[in-house]
Amino acid sequence: MSTEQTVTRADVCAAAIADAFKDDGEIFASPMGMLPMLGVRLARLTSNPDLVISDGESLFLAGTPPLFTKADKVEGWIPFRRVFDVVAYGKRHVMMGATQVDRFGNQNISAIGDFDRPQRQLLGSRGAPGNTVNNRTSYWVPRHSPRVFVEAVDVVSGVGPTRAAEAGPAAARFNDIHRIVSDLAVLDVNGPGRTLRLLSVHPGVTVDQVLEASGCALHVDGEDVPETRTPTTEELLVIREVLDPKGLRFKEVPVPKESA
């Protein structure tokens, strides 16, 4: 492995995900999927060592092991039933996947098409409805496309801020859609009327590229959209040497051919 490696898109995504968790303090970080797991563990080893993490099964991990390795040290027990307790308790930030996200920050992992007779049945709502009205929720989109970013999701699994407000104070009180990180950009839901806003585009990506890859409007503040920061030397070392020496992250965010 050369020390002069270029920073890959996957590394940028990992750091952007880590940034989504850096100000969370001592809460349970629940990543769904590989890049979210990498980003959360990166945050724990750098910007937010107080994060509570699990093996995704039933154990809170005292250490921060590499992706998909067994825990060396355990600090607690978190079987599925207790996850629901923590969701209601609120000290949790989940980063879920999203088959669709709409302009109002609603997410769909349930079904594509008409719910009664879907064109494509997906997982089901899982914990998305409960997560989004109880604890901070972010989304990870490994392939930013017009099929993912849509005007209106087919099924509202995860509840965006407008829907939550419409459902009343009990729904809005803890609704906190924090970040949407894709392979192209970082977004939040603080555009006008709580709509999608482009926070930054990843190095090598233009704003136009992101807009073209979106099936709905994205709000842009002012003239310039900042570039997503590149990982620090320390972060790159942690990603490459500690958390993902096998390069599993490239299965989710491949290295573009021209830079390979």
């Binding site: 039933r81 629901f84 089901g124 709502s125 914990g127 409805p129």
Partner: protein, 302 residues
Amino acid sequence: MKGPRDKRMTIDEVVATLEDGMTIGIGGWGPRRKPMALVRALYNSDLKDLTLVSWGGADVGLLTRAGKVRKLVYAFVSLDSVPLEPNFQRARQDGTIPEVVELDEGMFNTGLQAAAQRLPFLPMRAGLGSDVLVHNPWIKTVRSPYDEGHGHEELVAVPALRLDVALVHMNRADAHGNATYLGPDPYFDDLFCMAADRAYVSCEQVVDTAGLTYETPVQRLLLNRMMVSGVVETPHGAHFTTCTPDYERDEAFQRAYAAAAGGSDEDWQAFHDRFLAGDEAAYQAAVEAFRAEKQAEKEAAK
């Protein structure tokens, strides 16, 4: 001297107690510690019009494929390493499950708790603002009688998920129905049993009562005999789901299942004929042969 009664039964005896139209809760979680031997027996039974309540995995897949399910109550159906359950996906896309109730996971848990506590509902936030309430207009909200400084909050009144029968699989049980899990997670099997009028526990091994706490903490004794109507010893009865630490998920077999389920009708028929057409002993023998075949393929490839 008298002791608690012996509740040991056979798989067939359990199935004989079930009736068309029943609401059946199936324990475990997705592809983990599912009472698959009992599910396979349901698959091969004449039962019909069932309502299934499940953290769905291949149990839901098999029973929807067999046309047993009139109504399905679920929050997800997944095989984990195969994210989308192909039989369930097919059934939904073909419209062959007459009624579905898709809930949030927390709502599902709360519904079981309400049933276990003999309450009509329990309040929670989950569901508010989501399409769960749009697709299930019979699920109502309830206004809190209390104002904690945020007004009288309008919460979801999660309805009790009452079950006629619960089917769960544990690592060890005694003949009376006390049962322990030895893996990492109890899942919700105690709630399923308490939400049901009758609960049947299949297990890897029936041991004497003292054996249930031999070299394992008493806290793992999830099921007490008062919750249990019958006990069935079915070694490898959770196959191909996990039954940690007795065995892990059979990924090669799961891949074969998923390929057949997602393939042509002939593919499924072949899978059915080879693995599912006979009784549990025939199934386990066919799995052994499958394993030997895979092993031989691996050797040949070396």
